[in-house]
Symmetry: C2
Subunit: 337 residues, 2 copies
DNA sequence: CTGAAAGCGCTAACAA
DNA sequence: TTGTTAGCGCTTTCAG
């Protein structure tokens, strides 16, 4: 059995209160006793039991992170930001990964009132009004990343703006036949693909371009399915000269298919993605970088601030978007003359 | 403040022991009182405080996972296996990610004796003898994944065998100029690249091929640097007709460069990777699949078994390797005639 | 500046 | 079958 604070106290011939004070760097302990106690701690190789400490203080020094499965690079990149920022603090990171809707609901219901965590970081999982209410009532600070709710702190981006930005960029390069590829709206956990689509539509309209339904394609997310969707886009009588993909994964899937078919990018086809994942860099994909890593960093900072002194007001941080021009856009397509 | 077991007891007019028994599904409590207590629990929306429970039982119901930064797909894939398996149990997952050697040493030193976790899963971070000794002494069960030590349980593969398997496959296809690309041996956290290289050398020798030093190239891991290394391989007077990359990331980097240079794969150049990450599938890269996800699953199972009843003997699991033939190998290269 | 004592919320041994 | 009690290892009053 590892030594307890009592062992240290006995060995050092002091009270256990004194040992505790040394442990917590209390200023009101003489240098002499402090040194003595420290020596005994060293000698006994004593480490304070964090569980006991937690019970006593009511603080768990733990942050819960809830996110969808570890399958998408974007989640991972956010998690990385969270992890690396949290590592600089005294807090630990407990990971709750959500495979199904019911997983999500279970975590949302039980975690806040479980006294398991001091705070909750929720990535890419928008809560319902009822769930948000529960969070508030629980008293456990919650920060949403890549999701929003009027009652909760959040770190987000402006997806509509992002959609416009991407689409306008293609327009500026002379494209008129611009396609949008997104996730299925109904089944998506998440409304961001919807907003990006709205941004796309706005840009199309503002530029007086026709809203071609056949250019707007929705399907299961991911690189593989994007290949299929790209294929069907390419088989149109008048295929698009440019595609705005609502994620980099889809953008890369489009490149795969274009490559397979011998389409020249960007000459025959321009592609712009969304996210700013590492793979987009590898693939030379032009994209809207949404600062995924940074979203993790800032959400932790926001949560920590809430932990220190509960804010009277709800914090909302909107991260900037950056268009990173790479090689899948930029040369005037042949078909534009 | 959330209600405690005492509130429930008072409200239900029973002893707190009885409430505790109900909570723990003890059979020795009458159906009547059980129902009563359950009703009060429901009414008060009571959730037992896990921290208090932990202090009392000495079990934390938490598994610590230590791994290198969340940057490599292979780590993530293993973590995913761990996470999804752990989610099926009562255990929580606390994530400790290691950025530097000193991070690693800190975690290795403090975690086992911290009473923070019931067990430790260590991914791709081989401990020293001293560290392994400390693990043993701490009494906290440890399972190593993708690393080995005589005194500790582990889930590994046979890297030498894998190296041979990959190389022999290339030989069988008629290649004589076969290159090996690996991580830098000295700085690598990890010896696996060294073993794969040994396997490569064994296969080369067994087939009576010359061990060309210029075909053996080592550099920082990752796709980007692999492009550079591939470039220097291609600039050789007699470039290799096949490359065995010690990771899929490197394999894909090689494909990037080959593509950039207009080399036909597999006609001009065959490439085989190692790992079996998802990206290898996307890139159509032939590879040695080391069952990354499964390593996570099995390590959790092994650890859980150790938790249930401490094994007298040290468990060693060696996962099978599988060669997945895809499109970057297989056609007889032109230069072979 | 220091020691003693009262919890934190629970489990488990012991009585009844 | 149940209630009572003694911890689990720590922090934090409250005296001194």
């Amino acid at each position: 059995m590892s030594p307890t604070i009592r062992d240290v106290a006995r060995e050092a011939r002091v009270g256990i209160g004194t040992v505790s004070r040394v442990l917590n760097n209390s200023p009101q302990v003489s240098d002499k006793t402090r040194k003595l106690v420290l020596a005994v701690i060293e000698e006994l190789d004593f480490t304070p039991n964090p569980i006991a400490r937690r019970l006593s203080t009511g603080k768990t020094l733990t942050i819960g992170v809830i996110l969808p499965n570890l399958t998408r690079s974007s989640y991972i990149e956010r998690l990385r930001g969270v992890q690396e920022t949290l590592a600089l603090t005294k807090y630990h990171l407990v990971l709750f990964s959500v495979g199904t809707i019911s997983d999500r609901d279970d975590y949302f219901r039980t975690l806040p009132s479980s006294s398991m965590v001091d705070g909750l970081l929720i990535i890419s999982l928008p809560p319902t009004d009822k769930q948000a209410k529960r969070f508030k009532e629980s008293g456990v600070p919650v920060v949403l990343v890549d999701a929003d709710h009027p009652d909760l702190c959040s770190v987000t981006i402006d997806d509509i703006e992002g959609g416009k930005l991407a689409t306008q960029y293609l327009v500026n390069q002379g494209h008129k036949k611009i396609s949008y590829m997104g996730d299925i709206l109904e089944t998506a956990f998440h409304p961001s693909t919807r907003y990006r689509h709205q941004g796309y539509l706005q840009a199309i309209r503002e530029n007086g371009l026709p809203e071609q339904p056949e250019y707007q394609i929705f399907g299961d997310s991911g690189r593989l399915n994007a290949r299929k969707m790209a294929d069907s886009l390419f088989s149109l009588k008048e295929p698009p000269t440019a595609i705005f993909a609502s994620s980099d994964a889809q953008g890369i899937g489009i490149l795969d298919k274009a490559n397979e078919l011998g389409l020249k990018v960007p000459e025959d086809l321009a592609v712009i993605g969304f996210d700013g994942i590492l793979e987009a860099d590898y693939a030379n994909l032009t994209t809207i970088d949404q600062n995924l890593y940074q979203s993790g960093v800032e959400s932790v900072q926001m949560l920590l601030a809430c932990l220190e002194n509960p804010p009277a007001t709800i914090n909302k941080k909107i991260l900037p978007l950056e268009l990173i021009a790479r090689k899948t856009t930029g040369v005037s397509p042949k078909s534009l003359g």
